[in-house]
Symmetry: D3
Subunit: 310 residues, 6 copies
């Protein structure tokens, strides 16, 4: 006798899948799993990181004289791989919208090329981020350490690649790349967020940055900071409005300390400092120092709580 009644379970699972597909009005796609792959994108991003920082994020046995060869061959691999994934997203979207296959070849090629030519600019931005991390953390000993060890730097590398793909109309690939970094760092940056140069997140676990956030130059965040939406707008029938600007604008040189929550389309003025755990739902003038007021049961007031950093 069989140990498990597998045929019976297989049949039940088939029935449940069938039910779901009917409820979702989905036909089975005859061509197999036509969907971008997390594993493939992980591989692509690792290669792009190697091409961007060959002697730091490339293979350990790379020598300076081999840099360009390595960059070239790694780029080739990464870009052809990305082209495949771009095709998958474009086809998927077409199928969702029109119910049939579409010829996406030209668009896929154009979009992948656009990402490719953007890479040098992305590297320049990332150089500014690495410097910001180095200068912003008293414990940092070298830019190399920052590039190799800091989760905040990993998060911004993924974000700058994901953001470009988002702008190029590939929100799904962008999202997967963002989640690859989220699961490693605990930092959740929506690929739609616009982030200026010299950006640094210290510690990072629990940071959430929303889709329409706009962040200026040289901004610094600590762990568990939220740049969120105050509420979702919805129609009278409850349908959520999408795409509205609903997250904060953070101007240049702002510092936001750990645990602060900043909500809604407000503006944190240039050079302002937001203290740890502050809850903020209105705009703040340039240069302000916002801290939390707290009562504690021993009666002492600690009205002007200090920023929190570790």
């Amino acid at each position: 006798m069989a140990i498990f009644d597998t045929p019976e379970i297989v049949a039940s699972l088939r029935a449940v899948r069938q039910q779901w597909r009917e409820s979702q009005k989905r036909a089975l796609e005859p061509g197999g799993r036509e969907f971008p792959s997390r594993e493939a994108l992980n591989h692509i991003v690792e290669n792009l990181k190697g091409a961007l920082f060959p002697l730091r994020l490339g293979p350990p046995d790379l020598y300076p004289e081999g840099e360009d060869f390595y960059v070239g061959t790694t780029l080739e691999t990464a870009l052809h791989g990305l082209l495949d994934q771009v095709r998958l997203e474009l086809k998927y979207v077409a199928r969702q919208q029109t119910g049939q296959d579409a010829d996406v070849e030209a668009q896929a090629l154009q979009v992948t090329r656009a990402l490719a030519t953007e890479l040098p600019r992305i590297r320049t931005l990332l150089d500014s981020d690495v410097l910001a991390a180095y200068q912003g953390d008293p414990a940092a000993r070298s830019v190399d350490e920052v590039l190799l060890c800091y989760p905040g730097v990993l998060a911004i590398i993924h974000h700058r690649l994901a953001h470009k793909l988002y702008l190029l109309g590939l929100p799904l690939l962008a999202r997967i790349i963002a989640e690859l970094s989220h699961s490693q760092t605990g930092i959740d940056i929506h690929p739609g967020a616009h982030i200026g140069p010299g950006f640094f997140i210290d510690h990072g676990t629990g940071v959430v940055i929303g889709e329409t956030a706009v962040i200026g130059q040289r901004v610094r965040l600590y762990q568990a900071v939220t740049l969120g939406a105050k509420r979702f707008s919805a129609d009278s029938d409850g349908t959520l409005h999408k795409g509205l600007a609903r997250h904060p604008i953070v101007e240049d040189d702002v510092v936001i300390y750990a645990g602060a929550t900043v909500l809604g389309r407000i503006t944190i003025g240039k050079g302002a400092t937001i203290g740890g755990n502050v809850w903020l739902t209105h705009s703040v003038a340039p240069g302000s120092h916002i801290t939390q007021a707290l009562h504690q049961h021993d009666g002492r007031h600690d009205t002007h709580a200090e920023p929190v950093a570790a």
Copy 2:
């Protein structure tokens, strides 16, 4: 001369282990490492996920006409693997309790079969969770994206499997499966928590849900929400009471925004909304909107802080 004095260190480590075993009154188990394996369970859960969502979480080269074959063979592998792990936990428990080996074969088989026959019901629950995620996030573009990208969905898949094992008397396997998802998502759901259909956690990092929490249908949580215990009961001698209901009851259609802390065996009534960062230790009536009162140093009161979502 040897570079390291390895024999000396080996001897010291042996002495320390010996000390520990004596302090713990543990005999060396002659049969080797008789303990469930995290790696093995990871493999099993990956297979179960493939069997539950073959065309989405199965292998990239799966074609619709091969679905049932794939589901069948993957189930077989997963269930035999699980049976091994179930045996290990049951034997381990028996050894801990009685100091000797036990025949756990019949029980192991029964329990594994019980998990197996539950799978279709679990898939149905997960379908409701996927839909909830899709409907609850304005940024979600398709149910496929939700299934593949959202850490909250990963967490609930693991939880529904772990919870069933927990109910079947396998708390250790359940715990390992929960931790596999915790380390990837930053979401820490105790396998004992009872969670109704249509559950969704957005962003997720830092969420903690305790062992005796009870969550109704269509509940939505954001990052860093805690459903915790207020305090542990203990005997006069300090021994903790175990198993008492000590975590919140969250009724249907409740939304709890980021950073809220809900403590103790209180009830959040149907349809209530708990604002971001709220600290809550008493029950709340159905339909309530709870927000945080804050003082800020610029003197403005922001009495009715808004929910926080990103």
Copy 3:
């Protein structure tokens, strides 16, 4: 025609790298990527964990009679691998400081041997941590479960190894080992932190412990606790002062509940309890119970918020 204009992008990336190197006044290092490797350190730490807890964290097919052989061969592999990484850090530092290669052989050997002879003591400390976790969590069923499942235990294993390397003058290796655990657990302990025996972090996601923190015996933390700096001292020209004691001293038997923020070189006295979400910037007497005062919009005061644990 080529699909991508790879040569053009390679040239642009080269130009950008060149720019960076000039701005950083860095010569290309002729010897290749002379920098410690995260992958190598991961492998080394896994081997050290196996050598410390052979029957629990070693290979699944290990038998008690083979323990010493396994410990010896694994140590040999780990220590020679570590010696390589130590060399890389020492050489890197020398190059940064003097611009040229240095002979670090003797120092590398001495330092690696120092770590090696420390291992038995580290194991003893970790035994106390495992016991603390077992005794501190009502859900824990056995010390084995604690060792295998608890992220807080993983974090302290990494920390005790990293801290020793930090004391031996290898901050970079220490940092990488700390980040390996940070990315898995969401617990961010700076390798400089001094932590006494019997330490336990429950749940853990979001915990941050700063470089100069000093933690006594039998301390227990919950998720999202910060032991941070109040502010950074800086010269009049803005240069940050490094190495100053700027994080809290936490005395024996303190418990700090979830989300509490403790800032600056303050002292939490022996046996004190810090409630959930408390914001603390001044010292606290031994035995105190600090909780958060909160106003809520329904007017009810919950003056003495309870600790939060799940």
Copy 4:
């Protein structure tokens, strides 16, 4: 200074490739390496072997009740993989012949399906071969041993698959499959050879069977037997004639001992025995016993050398 002058060598290698392509009048194929892959075919053949003998050549953790699921999912994988390789060969041939791409989809599908439906018949043939090996070797203890250990059985499994592909017009795939077995067994059977049921090669190293050989039922060969061509026909201008029947016909129940060389389109009659090291270039009547005549320096004639088998 660079250690190797790689750019110079790269340039020289490019020049040499260019020269070769010009001498061969080959344009660079823009689409990349469009050629069947040895690794891919190896994987496909391993899967087909698993589908043919699931409990013997399938995965070690297969249970009888899972046989059909395993066979189904493995077949799906193998056949889709084979379809890819079939496409590559058909396209390659079209490019070679016409210089341009061709639509081979329908043909590729038809051919792959034809192989698929042939599999049960191939299994039946292989069963007869396994039995022949078991009955023909006094050392064989079971049919399972024969299937798992005997290189001659491995060779005939590969051959029966390769021969079918050869008949279906895929000589390149067939050849690669044959070479996969050749390199493991030292047995070189051209995929064109026609071989009846109940075929067995013992020891095998050095056996060569030519393209137009025809072998009846229940034939047995030993190591280093050649069934070869006597000479190649060529035109007056030296061009080799291809495809002519130029290898032996071996009728039913023939045994050919080690090292025998049988050349040309001759016929070995039913039931004949060819002795070890015999050199044979003329036909042999049914039932004959052919042995080698030898002179040895001690003057003794050993006119009727015995068959050689080990």
Copy 5:
């Protein structure tokens, strides 16, 4: 529509398997594939080779001071793995003979221990073989080169392990180990062959040594030598007699050159030399030099053909 009619092929394959099982009167074994595994044995043999020659065939990062630790842990792994395979063979044999499961535990343990205690003696024998290879080949530069490069040495390592298992009543494991070497070297030594110390095979491809061959000390063979059976004895009904001594006895210090065929239970006397390609079916006195008599079409006799070695 499905691309392949997989269900139909699966059904046909099931029917064919059913037919085979019926024809073989085999019941399906409920317990899965209970048969020794080639992959597992490969792993075990690699470990045993490492334990026998740690600094040559062990891992590249092994240091002399770690030798014993490595040998111990590798032996433990190898022996427990071997114990599993021994169990599988003993159970398989019992099932074949009695149709039911047997308790083979004690026997398996005893047999595996017997192999274990034999290892030092095997190492001593292998040392003599390595020396023989070094002394017998003018091209050999060191014993290390011989150990690492010579296929004949690989073959004798496998043989000495396989032969011991054969003597211990495990012909199946022995056979698999022999075939692992056969497929790499083209040298086919039956595990039953008894071979004295100081044995060396040069080049090796095509060598076949039969089950009952007896080979003395310091014997040297070249490629394509056969030590085979003249004929099989059979009953009047054609059943082959098994186990009879049917292969040559080769006394001490014999050299047999390439391609020689030596058949039947004959004796090659001490110190004899058998020339290349010689065909020999009668015994040869000690000290003889046997060469081949050949006629060639140019009329010249080359009566005393010389030995062949490369």
Copy 6:
């Protein structure tokens, strides 16, 4: 009780190793296993093959526009890897000869560079071999098929690399590379053999070519051909003379059919044909056709045996 008495066996094995080292007068090398690695060389050769034939033997996802990048980065990896192995051989030789370490850096670099600059010439030679195979086998359909499928082509690729290393004074690396191909193809070419362009071996299993063989242009061999030594010269005390020219000279355009044995420093004149199984120990004039004279027991003479090819 322990299952195996591992400590006892470890001690015995140590004693046996000790004995061997004493008998060999070898000190333990303190620096670990300082010996070239077969695995490393395999990796290096695979990379060199990719650099030589990028679109055929390189990765499947290589595109023509990426050829030079791939060649450059692969060469860099291969040459640095080779430099390591060259160092190991040179150091090993120095230790063997002088008993102490030597500085081999300059020599290692020079030798590796010499191999590097030779690569384009090697590719040109290999192109001639590929063409020869294509033209010499009536079954070959394209040069691509020949390059990918023919064991004889694999053997000559390895040989041309190994031969260059041999000439550069690295006989050990050369030997290992030759054996890598020997074990895959059954073709055993000593790296010392000098082989002209346009060389082709068909089928190949069992071919042996000796160290001092000299082979002209456009030579073709079939399986089991030996180009060997007639006898070894030895001093009166039995010490073998090394390095003497002792293998055949095969002039241009010679064809040698399967199984032929050619022995000693004889010359096969330009354009000669040597028939299958011929035994040849004297020189042969240009243009000769040598075939085997055979008596067969049926009394028919087959005086002029034909060439054998399959």
